[in-house]
Amino acid sequence: MTISITINGKKYKAKKHQSILTVLRENKIYVPALCYHPDLCVKSNCRLCVVEIKGRDGLYTSCSTKVEDGMEVITESPEILRTIRTNLELIFAQHKEECADCIYRYNCELLKMAKKYEININRFKDRKIGVKKYRLGDVLVMDPNKCINCGNCVEVCHKQKVDFWRKKEVDGFFEVMPNEDKTKNCVYCGQCVIHCPVGAIEAKGEFEDIEKPLENKALGKKVVFMVAPAIRSTIGEEFGLEPGTVVTGKLATAIKKLGADYVLDVSVGADFTTTEEAKELIQKFKNKEGVCLSSCCPAWVRYVECNYPEFRKNIATTRPPHIIMGGLVKSYFAKQIGVKAEDIITVSIMPCTAKIYEITRKEFEIPSTSSGRIRPVDYVLTTRQLAFLLHKNNINLAELQEGDFDNLMGEASGSGVIYGASGGVLEAALRNVAGEIKEKLPVVFVSGLDKAKQILEELKEDPDKYAGVEVMACPGGCVGGGGQSVPTNKEIIKKRAEGLRSIDNQKTIKRPKDNPIVNKIYKDFLKTEKIIKKYCHTNEEN
């Protein structure tokens, strides 16, 4: 039902049940809000989004107040200004400014507010100075000195059914900290990172270590960047482009400008993952070996390992795309360019924080040229980190010429690209095996660990309910990943996924089976089951 409201003397249309804040945002009328996130519950904790309502006493938080027909809202008054200023100064007193090494340096909501409202950010002494940081498995770092206690991380972690973050009282304050219950493990999905309004949680080395991969060039190494599917429809946002804008070509140019020797497309790796995972799915189904669970989301894999170990054996042994890609780069590709595996540094550009942990898993290691084993992927940079690196080097992606990925590893099929959004992995596998089996294959795909938990519970009841399950831990899939640009919300995620679909629509080769490079590498390199296992499947004996 449409109603009419007045904002600052001007009439606007609104829908019944909308909050005042939603209507303000739709009409691009600014009110500051930190704890508000469209995908989370309205908590109204920060108390910044206050407005006046004509005929009513006091101030109202616009996030928690619904519009009513004929309502007259005022967003600017001396009272509102005074309130916002003091509350903002109080918030700044919780947040240690480390702007020089913060990923939000180019895009900080807090600083924007400080400037707009001309506040003294140091009116109060920082309250939490000296509180120890929480380091989570060398993947995420939470700095309580920056946390403004909004509770978004606790809520989103609970929504994911992980419940790692929680609030506990210390010295009269309820502070965010890891759960003391040791059965609640962080799975590194990074949803807390992208829902934190002030950068209190970040990926490890999010700022400090981003130069490291390219420093290897000075040591005579070849640096190979490998770009995940979900990056190309997201990273443009960091340079002012609309969410969902596809920037594949510009991205290739930008990375070359940074100094990378080669830029490859992880979607090609995805074509191998699809081929192998589809084989596994069909084999498990035909041999009645139980459900086949997808393996390319490391947060999901860790969630199963921590919470449902009985399903560990059901996870496909097929390696995730960038791991296969890294292995092929350090073997097949290395030979092509005449370089030893040890002299290649692979850098995965990922929408994901859990990938930082994934590359350290021993079962993905591959044989080196000399002796011993090496990691297929040496570094992971998130979408945010790559964007930061580009900004830092004054490379404006939006204005670059279109370039190309290096074609030594060929071009991906459409299947390889849709991997970045929920449902894509399963669809790719099904495209590849279409017509191979006659029976009905019960499959399901979900995103978000809450839904994954439901599926596992269903499987506990009825192990044959599904033959194949695709899970992406982040809502919407990798386009909503914990390494992606901020803000990330449902609407933005949808546009990023549509961006990937548009690439698929333009591809003439839709599935790995029909991709010449895939067939060539199987013919020339992945010739035996033993070699395939070495490069495309987990090796538990490692």
């Binding site: 309205v42 908590k43 109204s44 904790n45 920060c46 108390r47 910044l48 206050v50 006091g58 101030l59 938080t61 928690s64 009272e79 005074r82 309130t83 003091t86 509350n87 109080l90 918030i91 007193a93 919780q94 109060f124 309250r127 403004i148 206690n149 509770g151 609030k167 009269g172 304050f173 309820f174």
Partner: protein, 324 residues
Amino acid sequence: MTAFIEKLKKSGLKGRGGSGFPTFEKWQTVLMTKAEQKYLVCNGAEGEPGVKKDHYILANYPEIVIEGIKIGLETFEKSKAIIYLKSNYYREFGGKLKELIGDLPIGLFEKKGGYLAGEETTIVSILEGGLAEPKGKPPYPCKAGINGCPTLVNNVETWYHIAKIDKGEYKKSRFFTIGGKVKNPGVWERDEKYPINKLLKETDNYPDFDFFVQSGGEISGEILLPSELKQTARGQGAIIVYNREETDGWELMQKWINFFHQENCDKCTPCREGVYRIKEMFDKKIFDQKVLKDIFYVLDKTSFCSLGKVVSIPIKSFYQKIGL
């Protein structure tokens, strides 16, 4: 409107938990809200220091409280009741109450958490198994409380008066607690508008020294001078007497602000950070009027719940009337 709610309306009874909301309005809302399950809560959290009236009622008239709840159970179809008690009350009166309850659908619940755990939306959250944090209003608990069911939260004393109203014995009385520097601390039932000075004199508690009074409760109550005692006590009806000469103002203000700092839930910025900044000043015995004014302003205007909104009352009235 049922005959009893009509009676309730006529009686003019206001909630005795401190906010003074007309009781019949809550009852009417619960009545009118269709639901498969309705909850009645008898709030015996009595978290405000200096207030002992619910304790007094539970010790002396538990059967009348249960009678009141029974009227609620009869008024609302598909209703269950919960007597929500602070821990020591639970231990002290649990046995007796269980006896009186018999097989009525009334449960006992031991309060978890501190001061805030007596606030009605926080009670709802706790009874749902959630955090001891207030919830946003609307929806009000009487429309959608415990698990979304209409929930009527009334104070112990309110339930007591409900039974009295039903029997036609309600005389617009309330229970006053007298404490602090007095000879005869205790609880007295008097007319709801009874002046503080008259009550102090009658109970042989009127000081023969220079004094001031805190009206309502020992933490959130307003400071009143002897010349202001023709009014009745506010909030939960406690009257605390202080010896003006012997009272250390800093110590008193520190006590208040420490209490708020410890007992708030830290949900909203002004209460979490603002209260801490006042505490910081008082710990160092600094009195920065400008900072205080700004923080009181955001506490009064933007606190999420009523706890934050009362912080300024004792402090402001103390330094305006008594000074440091």
